[in-house]
């Protein structure tokens, strides 16, 4: 008797659970992430406009159609310095396929006079942007350096890597995944 009662209650649990699955189905068929700008995977990359070390102005949303790596860095950050040669190497290798790098220096918490010498020392040819007010740091909820955001050609963040240095293989797998998208 006790056995039958238990089985009946378990059946009831399963029926209730099944009903809950259908009740809570997302009728819109799309995840909440959608097109809301946020520094998270599957969200729209928050837009920004910054000046480069060469005085040129670059807007992230103008780069739609290209795969973009937004790398937040500072000259005093060891892992940031360590990963720059690998980023440069892969930028050279993949830029012809529509890949670009925006290296955003956190100038508001860095020594601005050390940025250009660092760029020259490492022969960096991708755009180096200067975040003098902390606008991008705030929009991308910066908590650790370096922070890297791999953005696809639709402007959607496909991967977020917090910390570093990123190895060449890591960069290569993420860039190739972006380009395949």
């Amino acid at each position: 008797m006790q056995h039958i009662q238990r089985r009946l209650s378990y059946t009831l649990v399963l029926i209730t659970a099944l009903a809950w699955i259908f009740i809570s189905a997302d009728s819109s068929g799309t995840p909440t992430a959608g097109e809301i700008p946020a520094p998270r995977q599957n969200f729209l990359a928050p837009d920004f406009t910054l000046d480069t070390t060469l005085g040129e102005s670059i807007t992230l949303s103008d780069l739609r159609g290209q795969s973009v790596l937004v790398n937040l860095w500072a000259t005093w950050c060891g892992p940031c310095r360590a990963e720059m040669p690998a980023i440069q190497k892969l930028y050279d290798e993949y830029k012809a396929q529509g890949f670009t790098v925006l290296a955003v220096n956190m100038t508001y918490q860095d020594n601005p006079f050390e940025v250009v010498p660092f760029v020259k020392e490492h022969n960096l040819t991708f755009p180096i942007l200067l975040d003098e007010t902390g606008e991008v740091g705030k929009k991308y909820q910066l908590r650790s350096l370096p922070s890297s955001f791999f953005i696809d050609s639709y402007g959607i963040i496909q991967e977020v890597i917090i910390g570093g240095p990123m190895s060449e293989a890591l960069l290569r797998t993420r860039i190739e995944a972006l380009l395949e998208n």
């Binding site: 399963l14 699955i21 189905a25 890597i161 910390g163 293989a169």
Partner: protein, 251 residues
Amino acid sequence: MSQFLNIFAPPRDLILVVAAIWVGLYFAEKWAPKHGVKLNDLNNIIFLPMIGYIIGGRLLFAIENFSAFAKNPQSLVSLNLDLFDPSGGLLIAGIVALIYGQRKKLSLWPTLDALTPVLAIFAVGIALSHLASGSAFGKETSLPWGVELWGVLRHPSQIYEIIAALLILSLLWFQKPGQHPGVYFLNYIGLTIGARLFLEAFRGDSVIILGGLRLAQVVAWIFLAMSLFLLGGGINNISKVSIAQRKRSRK
């Protein structure tokens, strides 16, 4: 709250997971004798699969991305946690646990019972790490306890997850070891899967399949049915075999 988020921001959120494993192991060691499992076996069945998880996850990732590693083989020993295949790592960990269990002739259900505190406290650690990293975020809501995230009010899904994990942990804490080996573990699994199935409805990052159904809920329902089947009678037959195995191994 903001201090907690700053301290355990990614990748430091992993500290919470490691701490949870450590605390879980402490309690599992205390309770293992009640389930007839030796401490040495308990430690090995946790640490060997963990090593398998770490090495297996990295190796499988390298095989899947062979061309990237062929051009840069030293990346195989890179400290980047993202060069990893989590599901592949789990598969290898499972295989290592099975091989160890078979070689040491460990009884399945008592061993799983002994591991239950580790799993229950691990779930609390995972929930806390979700809160710290912002993963498993909630869907939009207009309820008064919604939290503002990315410009909209959302369900505090990570808080729900922490509460559920703590409730399940406290239920297990006061549960006396059952007569049948495996019941303690299956109760934990049933409760955890049930909680996931219920709470998934409030998540904003669900994988949606046909008809707007949430994949995690469908998978959870299948596992819930399996655990209830075992609790509802299936376990009796399995336990008989398990008890007989234990008696044989004691002789």
